[in-house]
């Protein structure tokens, strides 16, 4: 399962758990998460229509950040945290470096 699909699922299951709310802070958390998921989807689409290693890396970062935010929101609003696959094999911090090295130094 892709990181973005997982983020979407967590957003959806958290939404179903909460059902509805009039609390402006709870409502806004869903707004924040939806933006993170949609920006990751938009960058993934861009990486597919204009493929390049750096475009793919940017989409990966966006999806990973959406997933972390979704997981935190799940814990905050439901008291539970779904287990996530380990990212140790593909550490995100080096993806930031790859993207930055391309944009700052022109290194592919």
């Amino acid at each position: 399962m892709t990181t973005l699909t997982l983020a979407r699922q967590l957003l959806d299951s958290t939404r179903r758990h909460v059902e509805r709310s009039d609390d402006p802070y709870v409502i806004s958390r869903f707004g924040d998460l939806q933006i993170r998921v949609d920006v990751a989807a938009a960058l993934l689409e861009r990486a597919e229509t204009h493929p390049s290693p750096v475009a793919r890396a940017e989409a990966q970062i966006a999806a990973a950040e959406a997933l972390i935010a979704a997981s935190n929101t799940e814990f905050e609003l439901t008291g539970q945290r779904s287990e996530l696959p380990s990212s140790l094999d593909n550490p995100l911090r080096h993806t930031y470096h790859a993207v930055g090295n391309y944009h700052l130094n022109g290194v592919h």
Binding site: R20, I27, G31, Q34, D38, A42, L43, R46, L104
Partner: protein, 398 residues
């Protein structure tokens, strides 16, 4: 400023031509942007060049002789200009909103007349907001129709573009509390445009005051603007996408400067590197800024498509969808512009705060322009639809 343009405008024929013209103009506008900001020198000559280029007429419908470009293109044009000089990017904001209001609420005769003026190079300013009314959506200004003319009395503020305009669209209520717009000629008796904008950002927008003291216009110069919100139209999302495009442009400009100046920074003593651009933390921070700016641009383009759909088929669902995607663009552009314009100093080091670079203009512009409407309520707008299925309220700020 006279009520007529000096030269007739070029007419742009396609989306591609609009992007090409904007790219060329942005290069020219970038050259003097810092000096104009520093000296608060109003961009009179630049605006003449901007509107004569035809870019102020690209949203005029094809049926009236315009290019009727996609809002993906409109957003890209405003982004390109704003990356060079966001004051120049902001000035046509209300003009473009008014073009759409005419489309939705003007009579056939009015459309022919005003769309013709726009294609000829006339610039609309605005006298919409009021600093003293209860909130952004309420107006104390009155437009009273009497026979075949209308009289306007009131006091306006945040009137971006009015000082440079040929026509000043002015919002006021009729006796039933419905919002009308009167098109007032720039040299009309009773209309005073005051150069009173002294904000620390967007310094050359001349977003100051307008007073209307017994201004009289013919009835043919009045449109029932309230109709654009009584029923679902794309007008709210159109106003907002232009706002988001200005802020996206600021973010793009700030990222470019961050890269340029970070490349020139000295290596930090603990980094054991020869050059600042080898600093692993700087590199990762540029990576973080870059994906955020590109994500913002990608969502801005999505918002343009959603606006196009709402224009093609205006209904409750298409307009709500446009508001939702444009709200995402607003949130992302505001946050990214503020982040990039602040981070650039962190990555470029102390030498970057020297006055000669005037790099603080990016943050001053971002902070000022993003205050137009608060991002905190956009999270709420989106969340309320996601969680509760509630569609966004329809007004000029959604």
């Amino acid at each position: 400023m006279s009520a007529h343009p000096l030269h007739p405008a070029h007419i742009i024929r396609s989306d591609a031509e609009a992007i090409e013209v904007a790219t060329r103009l942005a290069e020219r506008f970038a050259v003097g942007a810092s000096e104009r900001d520093r000296e608060r020198r109003l961009p009179v000559a630049e605006l003449d060049e901007f509107s004569a280029s035809g870019l102020w007429g690209i949203t005029v419908p094809k049926a009236y002789g315009g290019a009727e470009v996609s809002y993906v293109t409109v957003a890209e044009v405003i982004k390109l200009i704003s990356a060079a000089d966001p004051s120049l990017g902001q000035i046509p904001q209300n003009h473009l909103g008014v073009v759409d209001l005419l489309l939705h609420t003007a009579s056939e005769e009015q459309k022919r007349y005003y769309f013709g003026k726009i294609l000829a190079g006339y610039r609309f300013g605005n006298a919409f907001s009021e600093a003293k009314s209860k909130n952004a959506g309420t107006f104390d200004t009155q437009i009273r129709i009497d026979g075949d003319s209308a009289q306007i009395n009131g006091e306006k503020f945040y009137c971006t573009g009015a000082l440079f305009a040929h026509l000043v669209p002015t919002v006021g209520n009729n006796e039933h509390g419905q919002a009308l717009i009167a098109f007032v000629e720039r040299d009309a008796p009773g209309l005073s445009v005051i150069d009173s904008w002294d904000g620390f950002g967007q310094r050359t927008t001349a977003s100051g005051g307008v007073t209307l003291d017994g201004v009289t216009v013919p009835l043919s110069a009045v449109i029932p603007a309230h109709l654009a919100f009584d029923r679902p139209t794309a007008n709210g999302p159109i106003s907002q996408i232009i706002q988001a495009a200005v802020d996206t442009g600021i973010a793009v400009g700030a990222l470019e400067q961050a890269k340029l100046h970070a490349r020139q920074a000295r290596p930090w003593i603990d980094s054991q590197q020869e050059h600042g651009w080898q600093d692993p933390f700087t590199i990762a921070a540029i990576g973080d800024l870059a994906w955020r700016v590109h994500g913002t641009e990608a969502i801005l383009a999505k918002a343009g498509l959603a606006v196009d759909r709402a224009l093609a088929e205006p209904n409750e669902d298409s307009v709500a969808q446009a508001s939702l995607v444009v709200a995402q663009a607003k949130v992302l552009s505001a946050e990214t512009a503020l982040l990039a314009s602040s981070k650039l100093f962190e990555l470029a080091g102390t030498r970057s705060v020297t006055g000669k670079y005037n790099l603080d203009r990016f943050w001053r512009n971002a902070r000022t322009h993003t205050l137009h409407d608060p991002a905190r309520w956009k999270y709420h707008l989106i969340g309320n639809f996601v969680l509760n299925g509630v569609k966004p309220a329809r007004h000029a700020w959604n």
